[in-house]
Symmetry: C2
Amino acid sequence: MSKQNAFYAQSGGVTAVINASACGVIETARKHGDSIGTVYAGRNGILGALTEELIDTSALSDETVAALRHTPGGAFGSCRYKLKDVETHRAQYERLIEVFKAHNIGYFFYNGGNDSADTCLKIAQLAESIGYPLKAVHVPKTVDNDLPITDNCPGFGSVAKYIAVSTKEAAMDIESMSATSTKVFILEVMGRHAGWIAGAGGLAGEGEGSAPHLIIFPEIPFDRGTVMARIDDCVKKFGYCVIVVSEGARYSDGSFLADAGTTDAFGHKQLGGVAPSLAAMVKEDLGYKYHWAVADYLQRSARHLASATDVEQAYAVGKAAVEFALAGKTSVMPAIMRTSESPYAWEIGEAPLSKIANAEKFMPRDYITPDGFGISDLGRKYFTPLIQGEDYPPYKDGMPVYVKLQHKLVEKKLGDFEP
Amino acid sequence: MSKQNAFYAQSGGVTAVINASACGVIETARKHGDSIGTVYAGRNGILGALTEELIDTSALSDETVAALRHTPGGAFGSCRYKLKDVETHRAQYERLIEVFKAHNIGYFFYNGGNDSADTCLKIAQLAESIGYPLKAVHVPKTVDNDLPITDNCPGFGSVAKYIAVSTKEAAMDIESMSATSTKVFILEVMGRHAGWIAGAGGLAGEGEGSAPHLIIFPEIPFDRGTVMARIDDCVKKFGYCVIVVSEGARYSDGSFLADAGTTDAFGHKQLGGVAPSLAAMVKEDLGYKYHWAVADYLQRSARHLASATDVEQAYAVGKAAVEFALAGKTSVMPAIMRTSESPYAWEIGEAPLSKIANAEKFMPRDYITPDGFGISDLGRKYFTPLIQGEDYPPYKDGMPVYVKLQHKLVEKKLGDFEP
């Protein structure tokens, strides 16, 4: 087989370690220079392929590529852009193949979550149907940890570590203050549909009285009376109460707490955010002094506190994707398989994209305690290995040294295309 | 002079490094066992002295004391409790002296901010007026960085580093997403009256186009039209806009952007929710997709990302406080004196409490750029040395190992007292 180029793109919400996967893809491709020519990266994800904005990664030094391993964000730009249905919008898919043809691209690596797994599969199928030789491999990434088959998703371990550590630290703060001041602390975390990230907050402590005292999961319908009674009990018993709440927390009718339109004591509508909404309830129902934090992007970009296990796995799925493609595989995704619980061990397995695309993995009910407000021993066993190890970036002048890429674009060979 | 005991207490909002000062006090006192007997720590700050709840630190092993250096929160409990006026509430002060007498306490170390410097001074004055031999030394601590004379306050360097690093990381995240998704990111930081913490966010980047693109200081009156125009320009020019906003941001009439309406024990208004308020303006005036984060307690408890310089200085002021007291000094505070700008060098100086108590140091206007939305070169020169160096806590099983003290209380010798 003659040498072909590769295309790599980042999709959806970025993570602290998605660039470690990019590093794995590029470094592995460079090791197989006999089979793979240049790795082109899509500028702003798949949009870069549609608009023929291809970043020439061969212009990046080995040192720069290596630095991607410790750099957060999406170094080539990501996108929230889902290709439309192949039946009704065939032109989009044909354009992709056209761009691939024009640049002799035979390997397609798409680094994302559920939606991008679906896109990757559709492109593989179209290529096959028209006889274009393309090996399309999906590289898993999502802080939401909701991809099936793989035991966990690269990106999740680091946000889990960040939330666990932050919860522990903030809990020590409020504990010191609680005698005369703040009694309730609320930390809002990501996870619109599943409580994986909120659950990781449970690693902050273990045993009676340890913070977080309550985790509010999207999986457990929110009942204001029950939650407020728990908070009150907790403050009376331990002097303070630490709550980790998922942005996806919702009432039994499915409506989100954040959308509930809560008003504060002055009749001002709370401006979004489940943490301030919950804080307003605490104030209204219990009158305790509270503090709240919303971690938002901080949690998924916190490369300074990445899990070493997560970084290693993110790199490994990038590396494996290239190896899969070189072995002639297509429409697959490298998956992380837990081969041993204690001591924790994992290996890379192979998942067919047909079983990944658009599927969503929810947190098993038995990872949550029967009362619905904490993680069970089973949950703790699942989460704990994923936050193991520290992988600090280098620092200079007190700040982490993250790499900022120059996006050297390849000369276009085709006409314009309106995505 | 016969051997006397010491009393140490933590006051006000805790920091990532206040326990490093405690460590400095206790370790130094232990080295001077010929002059200082036991260090008693007030349980929940000065309240512990009033209620005679004294923690016997001699029960702590050297290893446990050493671990305080890397443990966030206030290990002995802090308090938001300001002693009332000495003229009208003399009984409170007399009670303190009574407790000191009962436990042979001749050294008083109070670890806090402006209010506690005032308390420390008043106690020193009363002791002197009644002829009770007491060396009262204030140990500076505040993330707000607003104590006069001292070049900076222990606690500030670490929150500065946390905000600078978090801003940089979140900026890399939004930059990757901005082509198709979020255009504006807002990070709300602490700083009720002064923009020191917000200013530290400016260390995230330098030069045209670098995030943060706007810093909103309490010192610069907020004008919605001006700010929105700047944000719009920034998005049009760079594709996205990162904003660090102080919780103390206010309009020209002095009213806060977000006023939670509650007050703490010192009569300070409890603020919070500037970020969502600003986000709502962005949505209304500009229509850009936004994300916002509120760091709250996370920023001041983030021992995992402490500045090594800050840790060292926090320890040094604790150590110096004991040495001052042993040298017979009272009504003073160890201050950090910057002796050289480049390379940065500092030493411990001596500040009279009369010049510290209730005074507040604002950020010089020339630390802020003329347009009011960034830090000047002068500001950068001030901030940069304070975030130098990393001082990681030890980790076990993926989590930092912080010490949790058993509070062994000394047997009471006096009757009850209602503070």
